[in-house]
Each structure stands twice: as C-alpha cells, then as structure tokens.
C-alpha cells in the first residue's frame, strides 16, 4: 500500500513538472499572444494542480497531516486561471493585437469591427 501511494506521489509530481516544462517550451515556441495564452493558462494550471495534489497526498499519507489549504489552493487555481487566460486574450484582441500568419480563419473580426464602428459613430449604451 505504501509503495503504491509513493508511486502515485511520484507520478503526480512528475506529471506536474512535465506539464510545467511544456508550458515554458510552449511560451517560447508558439508564434503569437493567443497561442501562448493557451500554453500559459492551461498546461500550467494542470501542472501546478498536479504538483499540489502530489504534495497533498505526501503530507497526508507520509506525515499524517491533512492539509485543507492545499485542496483549497487546487480549487482556487481551478476557478481563477481560466478567467485569467480569457481576460488576457480578450484584452489582447480588443487592443488590436494581430494573430499570427498561420491563422486560418477569423469569425470574430467583423463582430469587433462592427461594434467599434457603432461605438465610434454614436455612443450606444446598449452594446
């Protein structure tokens, strides 16, 4: 039993470190802000969550310390990080950052342009 739990701890922490490394490589390699936001906001979340889970299991099983704070940390990370990724990419888009050349389609462009035109010509509050 102890061996299985220790293997589980090693696996979760390894997975966490690997995904954190993937995040870093992704940020370095990806071409534009949106694709980087993918790497930064998600693989990092899963990586850190996985590490926290490993730490939680380690302290629970090997040290006999049931740490609620770690679980809360996992939940908070889980709730806040997608919002962070969403806000970053939305702010970038609204500020007019161009997506990379590779981008094959853009459904959002016309909507944003239309909204911008409307707010430019008349101050519409209902938009």
């Amino acid at each position: 039993m102890s061996v299985i739990i220790n293997i589980l701890i090693v696996i979760t922490i390894t997975v966490g470190v690997v995904f954190t490394a993937v995040t870093t490589i992704g940020i370095l390699r990806f071409p534009d802000v949106y694709t980087r936001a993918h790497a930064a906001s998600k693989s990092a979340t899963l990586g850190v969550m996985s590490i926290l889970l490993g730490v939680f299991i380690h302290f629970w099983y090997n040290e006999g310390l049931f740490s609620i704070q770690l679980l809360l940390g996992i939940i908070f990370l889980f709730v806040t990080s997608p919002i962070g990724g969403h806000l970053m990419s939305r702010a970038a888009y609204m500020a007019g950052v161009k997506p990379t050349e590779l981008t094959v389609g853009d459904d959002l462009k016309e909507v944003v342009e239309k909204a911008r035109k409307e707010s430019g010509s008349l101050k519409s509050e209902d938009q």
Partner: protein, 159 residues
C-alpha cells in the same frame, strides 16, 4: 432543488428527534430515509429530484477531467513536435445555454481544456468566440464541444 435538499435535511433532523440520538450516523440514516421519501413522493415536485442533478454534475466533472487529461497530452505532443505546424483559428460557437452561470461554466470548461480559449462572448450571449490552437475541421470541433460539455451542462441545469 434547494427546497428538496432542505426538506431532506429536515426529514433527517426529524429522524434524529424521533430516535433521540444526536450523532452523525443517525443523521446519515435519517438522510437516507429522507431520500427514499423524496423518491416516493417525486410526482409532487415540479422539478426533477435533486440527486439526479448531483449525479449529472458528477458525470460532468468526470467528463471534464477526462477531456482535460486527453487534451493536455495532445498539446504536449504539439509542443514537442520538431516542426511547429499549427492551424490557429477564431471560430464562432453558437450556444443554446441561457443562464449566466451556465455560459460562465461552459466558457471556463472550454478555456481549461487545452486547444481552445474563449476570447469573446457576444453581447446577446448566443455565441461564444473561441480561439483554437490547431483546427483541422471547425464543424467537428464545434460538434465535439456541443456534444460533450453543452449537453452535460444542460443535463445539470434542466428539468
């Protein structure tokens, strides 16, 4: 739904008073009896019984964890590939969800599954604009999100 849970707790507390033993195990037994009573009287409730909703929420969580793992692995494969051939794309996803919290939940789930980020929610809340990392087929991507997450969220909220 909240009313049903409250009723169930009330039945459990009544059971504790009837047996005059105030321990956690008595509460659990009373709660189970309450579940049975709620199930027997289910046609008097307007909405669905709440434990079906809990079951649907559990299924949604499991589905989400599965998708999270699978798509993280796919991003991992994408990143370590020597030649970076991405096909990023912004596409529109029409949604049938109505309540604010459903849309928030859907967009959080979409954002957390790698390969997709919600960039914008349209003003009438009928369309989500999603940035995808690597799209071969837009319709397929839309279909898969619609069939998995949207359906599961509807399962939780409806009825």
């Amino acid at each position: 739904m909240a009313f049903q849970i409250l009723l169930n707790v009330f039945i459990a507390v009544t059971w504790m008073f009837m047996t005059s033993s105030f321990s956690a195990s008595t509460f659990v037994i009373g709660y189970l009896i309450g579940l049975t009573l709620l199930f027997l009287t289910r046609r008097f409730f307007k909405s669905r019984l709440y434990f079906w909703k809990l079951w649907a929420a559990l299924k949604l969580t499991l589905l989400f964890l599965k998708e999270l793992t699978l798509s993280n692995i796919s991003v991992f494969m994408l990143v370590i590939r020597p030649k970076l051939n991405l096909q990023p794309m912004f596409f529109a996803l029409p949604t049938e969800l109505e309540h604010d919290w459903e849309i928030t939940l859907l967009s959080s789930l979409i954002t957390l599954t790698p390969g997709t980020i919600v960039v914008n929610v349209s003003d009438d809340q009928r369309t989500l604009y999603i940035h995808a990392l690597d799209v071969d087929d837009v319709d397929e991507a839309i279909e898969s999100i619609k069939n998995s997450f949207e359906k599961a969220i509807m399962e939780v909220s409806r009825g």
